[in-house]
């Protein structure tokens, strides 16, 4: 899967979860940039990403994800 494909899938998940069809994801985005992105939604995002890419995160992987870029890199590494 290409980086762009991963990006598109993850962006689609963000749009669904936050109910915002116009949401545009950037690598630098953090939970401070999206109003409803709290720890509750963090897990929702992660569970959705796990399902979409058929991967399973470890505690180590997800306990500290600083921004969207780190999330994308993690998916890229695990889906490879």
């Amino acid at each position: 899967m290409t980086e762009q494909e991963i990006f598109d899938h993850v962006q689609e998940i963000f749009r669904t979860v936050f109910d915002d069809e116009d949401l545009v994801l950037t690598r630098e985005m953090t939970s401070a940039d999206i109003e409803d992105w709290d720890s509750l939604e963090q897990i929702n995002l992660l569970v959705a990403i796990e399902k979409r890419f058929s991967i399973k995160f470890q505690l180590q992987d997800v306990k500290d994800l600083p921004n969207v870029g780190a999330m994308l890199d993690l998916v890229k590494r695990m889906a490879a």
């Binding site: 109910d19 897990i43 569970v47 505690l59």
Partner: protein, 591 residues
């Protein structure tokens, strides 16, 4: 098909919760309810998804969420906020993670036993404290531990975690069984069903303190929502079943009764046999069984004449074997037994038949399954018939409806309707509410939608409080006739202030409508009001989507319409001008 119809896609519900909520809130006629959730672990998504399922059932919840992990403190040392919220439903979200006194291998058998008693005492105190809110309380059983330090012995040794949790669950279920108003949300069963390794995720616990893995939160919430909708009278009441390849394998019109698959001797036959046996159990709970089959009637009935068939022809209330569209048969069934199409679940192996019914009768629920071995699960796990309360009348319900059909048949042979009613030799018993009747009255109040003037709902404790209330006029009515006993079918509640009485509630089971039961109820109610010195009775009709048939009932009984608007019609009666109406029911009046 709704996203909430079983089997639902839990992951989709989690992802789309915001847009789903937006859509669901637009539904008309939502019933507002106050739901308090007390926390033993993270509630967040549990509240959100529970809200979706409740909205799906037509219930609009307003939530109170207790402090994180403080279910015990919130209940036992309430700061007043929970009492001020006045919950209609209380859900205590606990799991094994809330067991503070788990024994260890350092304990002796005696100290482990003391820990068990201390732990149960803590939960019992929390539950007892929950009683003062006077509303239904939903409590969780405890999931099994994910590890067993002694291995299999953990279930045998008093110091073992498995032993401890089994003992706690035994105490908890006994408590729920003995304490009215308490209902079990069987978390332990769900955890077993989905597997402990899936149900609980260490990382989700460490990261977010979720005692249930995110992906199973929809299943948990579905289970809770089923209890709540059942308590609010929103259960399904009956099934409409296809025959060929649903109740047996094969097409009976072609292979005859001996050729269908139904015996326990073959794998295919076993699936149908067990499904029939499951349906027979539902029938015992008062679920109405009906048939809609494209067959010749004689061929259709011949399958149930087999000696190894768990269901017999007499187990079915309406038996429609014809070549008409099934949507038409289902509509006729609803009409004949006098229930709303939305109370029926249609079960058919043929996806094309399901689709036609979905389109023609959108209110009817259509079961989804793939293969005969999945049929029981499709009915069982959907929670259509979640049984929160079970009265003696439930078990007899099929019989009562059967008697009704016999009455309808007899009605056709009489010259006038009144002659027919007289021929029924009806006997009514009327009296004020008493403790033995309270449970049945509460159940009837909360599930009656059609003959219900105000659609006010009452909890068990509220009904019991009325028994002692000097200013209340309460009346129940039982009706029996030559075909059988209908049981307790009607109730009225009036509030007296000075010389006036307001009718706050009047409900009646629709199966006795137009038998002069409603008239006799009013006769008795007026008589009791007069005895209390009441000179004027005020009745209100509050319209809902379902109670249109009672819109003008006060007007037909000598009440004068005082006002009418879209939300309320008010009627008033001068007691001295009331003319008793009953001419056909022999009345036994109790005080």
């Amino acid at each position: 098909m709704s996203l909430f119809d079983y089997p639902f896609d839990g992951a989709m519900l989690l992802q789309k919760k915001r847009s789903l909520r937006r859509e669901l809130l637009k539904k008309p006629n939502l019933t507002p309810k106050k739901v308090a959730i007390l926390s033993g672990s993270t509630i967040g998504e549990i509240k959100n998804i529970l809200e979706l399922f409740l909205l799906g059932y037509g219930i609009a919840p307003e939530f109170y969420v207790g402090n994180y992990g403080l279910f015990y403190e919130n209940l036992v040392f309430d700061d007043g906020s929970l009492a001020a919220f006045k919950p209609d439903i209380l859900y205590i979200h606990t799991s094994r993670k809330n067991l503070k006194n788990m024994p260890t291998t350092a304990d002796t058998a005696q100290s482990a036993g003391e820990k068990l008693e201390a732990e149960w005492a803590r939960f019992e105190a929390a539950f007892n404290a929950a009683k003062r809110f006077g509303c239904p309380v939903i409590v969780n059983s405890f999931d099994a531990p994910t590890h067993r330090v002694m291995g299999n012995r953990d279930a045998v040794d008093a110091r073992g975690g498995v032993y401890f949790i089994n003992e706690m669950n035994a105490r908890l279920t006994t408590y729920v069984g003995k304490n009215e108003g308490f209902y079990l949300n069987d978390l332990a069963y769900l955890a077993t069903r989905f597997g402990l390794d899936n149900w609980f995720s260490e990382s989700e616990w460490y990261l977010y303190k979720y005692a249930v893995s995110m992906q199973y939160i929809p299943e948990l919430c579905h289970n809770i929502a089923n209890i709540i909708k059942s308590l609010l009278g929103k259960n399904k009441k009956g099934l409409v079943l296809d025959l060929d390849n649903t109740l047996w394998g094969g097409v009976i019109g072609e292979v005859g009764p001996e050729g269908i698959e139904l015996s326990t001797e073959t794998p295919g036959g076993m699936a149908y046999h067990e499904f029939q046996a499951y349906l027979k159990q539902l029938e015992n709970l008062g679920i109405l069984l009906n048939v809609a089959s494209k067959n010749e009637p004689a061929a259709a009935e011949s399958g149930f004449a087999r000696s190894d068939s768990p269901l017999k022809r007499d187990d079915f209330l309406c038996f429609k074997a014809n070549w008409e569209p099934k949507s038409q048969s289902i509509a006729e069934i609803a009409k004949e037994i006098n229930i709303l199409p939305e109370s029926l679940v249609f079960v058919d192996d043929n996806p094309a038949e399901r689709e036609i019914v979905r389109q023609q009768l959108p209110d009817v629920t259509v079961a989804s399954f793939d293969g005969p071995e999945k049929m029981i699960a499709a009915i069982d796990r959907a929670g259509y018939f979640e049984t929160t309360t079970l009265s003696a009348d439930d078990a007899k319900r099929n019989e009562m409806y059967r008697q009704n059909l016999a009455r309808a048949a007899e009605q056709q042979s009489f010259g006038s309707y009144e002659d027919y009613l007289k021929s029924l030799e009806m006997q009514g018993e009327f009296g004020s509410f008493t403790p033995p009747h309270a449970e049945r009255i509460t159940q009837l109040i909360n599930k009656t939608n059609q003959f219900n003037l105000t659609t006010r709902r009452y909890t068990g404790p509220e009904v019991e409080a009325l028994i002692e209330d000097e200013n209340a006029v309460t009346l129940y009515g039982r009706l029996a006739d030559k075909f059988g006993d209908n049981g307790l079918v009607s109730a009225m509640i009036g509030h007296v202030h000075g010389t006036e009485c307001d009718i706050e509630l009047w409900i009646m089971s629709c199966r006795v409508f137009k038998r002069q039961m409603e008239h006799t109820m009013m006769d008795e109610f007026v008589r009791r009001c007069a005895a209390k010195g009441v000179t004027r009775i005020v009745g209100r009709y509050l319209p809902t989507a379902k109670n249109l048939l009672t819109k003008e009932i006060y007007g037909t009984m000598g009440f004068e319409k005082m006002s009418e608007s879209e939300t309320e019609s008010v009627f008033a009666l001068q007691v001295e001008q009331y003319v008793p109406q009953n001419t056909v029911i022999a009345v036994t009046a109790k005080e």
